[in-house]
Amino acid sequence: MEYFIQQLINGITLGSIYGLIAIGYTMVYGIIGMINFAHGDIFMIGAFIALIALILFGLTGIALPIVLFLVLLITMLFTACYGWSVEKLAYKPLRGSFRLAPLISALGMSIVLQNYVQVSQGARVKPLQPLITGGLEFFKDSEFIVTVSFLQIFIVILTIILMSMFTILITKTDLGRAQRACEQDRTMTSLLGINVDRTISITFILGSSLASVAGMMFVLYYGVIDFYIGFLAGVKAFTAAVLGGIGSLPGAMLGGLLIGLIETMWSGYISIEYKDVAAFSVLIITLIFFPTGFLGKPDIEKV
């Protein structure tokens, strides 16, 4: 039982990271109907920017909470610039082209970003010493002590805050309304005087900043990164988005959580080598029974 609770906590932490990345996939899919394969690499860029910023601020000797807050802002800002540029360079010129074109462009962009980081930062893994240490211990009398580290609490709370802010943004603001309108009918949206290109750009900016927060969490949680982390994390987050129902925001959050839990439970009880196989198998089985994912909406429109 204690072991299960421990795995549950680990799974929720991991799921938060996947969920934050998955939102980027699902939003971009919703609005322009393409899978942004470079999104995982945007997450990786975010992790690198966070690492660099953490080291720079770490040298100044400012108190840790302030450092974390500044690093968070800087990471989001810089990564958002990357996301925005990727959209402008690789996808916007192809809008209105055939459906596969931006997809191929996205794959190319993914390779470009990986190689760019490999060349500029080196191929070796980059370590970071644990910054947020300590935690709470439960069930001290039993054989297995359940530990909830402060870092895990930080990750989960930050995720909840960001996702709530994001949900309000999408459901209540003009920008969110414009985004939901673009999802359904871009031409009609432009006929109402809304700048569709700008709305799409903002979508990329938002998705990239959320992914960058996930990148920062990844650095803090695992302590090592390299230029290749974007691939697997990206594929997992994409799986999460599909599992929850691509195009659906609550779906992305739910999917992220599920993938995180499946992975940790499988590693905890069955075998750590096959944890990725487990995650993807669940995806396949789910899609057989729920082709649109758990919270996806089949497009039935009344005419």
Partner: protein, 239 residues
Amino acid sequence: MLKISNVETFYGKIQALRGVNIDINKGEIVSLIGSNGAGKSTLLMTISGVNKARTGEIIFEGKNIEKYEPHNIVDLGIAQAPEGRRIFSRLTVEENLKLGAHANERGKHFNSDIKEIYDLFPVLSDRKSQRGGTLSGGEQQMLAIGRALMNRPKVLLLDEPSLGIAPKLVNQIFLAIKNINKEKKVTIFLVEQNAKKALELADRAYVLVNGKVTIQGFGQDLLKNQDIQAAYLEGGAKS
């Protein structure tokens, strides 16, 4: 106010408009009638900047707008309620209307504007928190017109507002169009297949055949025109 001269629009290699000339004066209701595929909707989409004219000019209040992007054209004061209504079915009625208000300086006129729309189409007020997709065809058409009006347009382009709508509601909608023109002083450019209704309502009208204007004149005169009667008013025997 809005002058369209020698406009040609293509879909790939297919020419949809073959040099269209239309003048719309301030305060008028101008109708454009024509059969399926004549290029009526293409013309409206060209005015709105969704399809770009390959040649020709579109001049609105002295400005050439044929190269403008759709959202800039809306900012200038040309709104459209397009064919098929294109309601955002997953958004509520009120959200649809709010989207219409996006272009003008937000919040400033919003409350009074939305009240005017609800006065014009009371049924929308009853259904304001319902999703757009659950409305009937006629209600959706009212919503589409209301949404376009939220932009505070000077010219309102209407594409087949009677399409697929119960006759009783068609009358109500045409009455509302007249009202919008007379009370709100919005210039109307109406595209219709329902030629009788469109000509009755119009100050002036044009007939579009295969991407070209073939006949033009006052609405009442065209109603009596024999060619038009044969082609559009009595079952459409010849094309």
